[in-house]
């Protein structure tokens, strides 16, 4: 399993939108994808139309009360979701009483590494809390999400510096990549910013840039990824292109969609509003 953490200390830069739709695009490409909602605002959970009542969530996993397998739900777009609620914020306070709280997610995911090909972590809008520390500790790649707006480049460079400093202190390699979001090529400021990002980030910047699209807002409102709402939308094309690059980055092999395979604990979320695609049409890569 390759773990991607989508990070930026800035809110509203498209982290959740990118996490949800990248996860769905990877799934559409034949990968088994787990989306982990690490934000107490639970926007990724909401964006996939999942209503949490008394089901176990990520905070229960971090508290080691349940396993990842027991807490995941199936969600629109062929994605498995480890959902979140506002209760997740309490973990920040509890962490002061725990030993190595920043390793809780890594420990939980390490026993399920063969169940998924990718885990996409949607991080909260801060990089200094214990939740972000959990994400970075569990991640193989940190993807900095950079919106194409005013001051975004300065903020992104600062965030990249923080990530590089964290990566240097870790006992395992953490690759750093960046992706541009909310790009509107009609705007001069957006074009200039993209040119600036290209100059500053160079090869770590993915070729695919996520353009602004009303379909992304509509998809979030409908509780489905954009490739489910409108596969022909340009936003869906952007995420397909990003998924191709992410798979290449992770060294993911080309796979054929043959056979039926469903993760054993998959549970349909109560609030999901869209039909799940046909059964996962691919044999498991690993046998246990």
């Amino acid at each position: 399993m390759h773990v991607l953490a989508l990070v930026n200390q800035k809110g509203g830069c498209g982290k959740t939108t990118t996490a949800v739709n990248l996860a769905a695009a990877l799934s559409a490409a034949g990968e088994r994808v787990l989306l982990v909602d690490l934000d107490p605002q639970a926007h990724a959970t909401l964006a996939l139309g999942c209503a949490i009542e008394d089901e176990p969530t990520l905070v229960d996993v971090l508290r080691e009360r349940v396993t990842v397998r027991e807490a995941v739900q199936t969600a629109p777009g062929g994605v498995w979701l480890l959902p979140s609620t506002a209760e997740l914020a309490e973990f920040e306070e509890e962490s002061a009483r725990l030993i190595a709280p920043e390793r809780a997610l890594w420990r939980a995911l390490s026993v399920t590494r063969l169940d998924w090909d990718f885990a996409v972590l949607d991080c909260p809008p801060r990089v200094d809390g214990v939740l972000a520390a959990n994400a970075l500790r569990a991640a193989d790649t940190a993807v900095l999400v950079v919106e194409s707006g005013t001051f975004a480049l300065q903020g992104a460079l600062k965030a990249l510096g923080v990530l590089e400093a964290k990566a240097a202190t870790m006992d395992r390699p953490l690759a750093l990549r960046a992706v541009g979001t909310m790009f509107d090529r009609r705007l001069k400021i957006a074009r200039e910013l993209l040119v600036g990002m290209h100059a500053q980030f160079g090869e770590i910047l993915f070729d695919a840039v996520i353009r602004t699209s009303v379909r992304l807002r509509e998809a979030a409102a409908a509780g489905v990824p954009v490739n489910v709402l409108d596969p022909a939308a340009r936003a869906a094309d952007d995420f397909r292109a990003l998924a191709v690059e992410v798979r290449a980055h992770a060294g993911s092999p080309e796979r054929e969609r043959t056979g039926d395979w469903v993760l054993p604990p998959a549970r349909r979320s109560k609030g999901a509003t869209a039909a799940r695609p046909a059964a996962r049409a691919r044999a498991p890569r690993h046998s246990t």
Binding site: G180, F183, R185, K188, R191, E192, L194, V195, G196, M197, H198, A199, F201, G202, E203, L205, F206, D207, A208, V209, R211, R234, D237, D238, R240, A241
Partner: protein, 82 residues
Amino acid sequence: MDPLALLCNLHAEGPATLRVLHRAGIRTLANVLATADWALAELLGSSPSAARRFAREAEHLARSARAGRLEPEEGADAFRCA
């Protein structure tokens, strides 16, 4: 980010244009500059003038890359008006 991807994001339909160019064997800004306007127009499904503009932007990006810096987008049109 590859310079050709940057060009496609800035002045065309992003990944869709990049795929078309790659399929035609165009993988660098130099390849774009070496392609005839009419052929580029056919590939992009655009008018010859739009294809010429695309090639002109490719030239600007290539020149900026050679100079070790990337200029902002303004300039070309303003220069022509002056």
